[in-house]
Symmetry: C2
Subunit: 157 residues, 2 copies
DNA sequence: GTAAGTGCAAAACCTTTGCACGTCG
DNA sequence: CGACGTGCAAAGGTTTTGCACTTAC
């Protein structure tokens, strides 16, 4: 049943290798381990999660290397950074389609749901333009309670 | 020319006094100084800014008191918290009209512009409902470059 | 060979918290 | 008086950084 997963396809690192080469950087063992780890995690994860995964591939990966590699992963489009104002940032493997996405965050369990919201992109650009500003990025975040958390916690008397 | 400002009207603290009394808390000298300071600052400010202003009114106000008072100011509707993912949070005296506002943030100088975006509120609620979640709050943030920063920094070769 | 990269540990940074003392009601 | 509030300073927790050693190219 398990059809060949894309996770272990070595050629997937091509774009990333090209990105770092073009910047005059080096494809070190640790860097590539972080890259592979980042691609292998599904859903949102923290820097600490990534460290664990990367260490499973290469024991020598340190926390500093994770934090130094993350901007490269983001810059190369491998990973997206998701900051929902929690104590730590989240990261997410970038899907193929680059549709603009909003984040639905459950206040009870911190679960994050990515939601396509193409209209937001248009709206954000319009707002920036109206103020004479050149738009760079936009972010819509909806805090809510998921079904499970609605039942678990009474909304307070 | 200077028409009587609302800043020094003592009765403006009424709502805040009622809020803390209703919670069984006390209207201490320091707490009220922080309140007055918060109302006197126009535009966005940090906790540190607030500390300076409050100390100008009452030298005994400490940083801890600022951080302990801020949730009360927010809870009473005196102040709005604005978190745009920078190193520190910003605060803003709550205006009368409670229209939903988006934040336009200049990436170059960190200036924040509040923009009315009532449609966003509706949109956020709809997104949450579509996923069976009960909406609590939403936040739209547009990162951009203001005119001055567009000229100052070349977009990098 | 040499400049970039790495691990380690300490630093940085805003914010929170423990404690003993003050003070509002 | 007694609980709530305060100042001080130290702790917290993620991310960054300085330094000497490695390593990719």
């Amino acid at each position: 049943m398990t059809k060949p997963s894309a996770t272990d396809s070595p050629e997937h690192s091509g774009a990333f290798r090209a990105f770092i080469a073009q910047k005059g950087l080096r494809a070190t063992r640790q860097r590539m381990a972080v890259f592979e780890a980042a691609k292998s995690i599904s859903g949102h994860y923290t820097a600490e999660d990534l460290l664990r995964k990367a260490r499973a591939l290469d024991r020598t990966v340190s926390r500093a290397t994770i934090y130094r590699a993350l901007p490269l992963l983001v810059g190369s489009g491998t990973v997206r950074e998701v900051d929902v104002g929690r104590d730590h940032k989240y990261y997410l493997a970038e899907a193929g389609g680059n549709a603009f996405q909003a984040q639905l965050v459950c206040e009870g369990c911190d679960t994050i749901v990515e939601v396509d919201a193409p209209f937001m992109e248009w709206y954000g650009k319009a707002v920036a333009a109206k103020h004479g500003m050149r738009p760079i990025s936009q972010k819509l975040q909806v805090t809510a309670l998921c079904e499970r958390c609605q039942k678990r916690r009474a909304p307070r008397p």
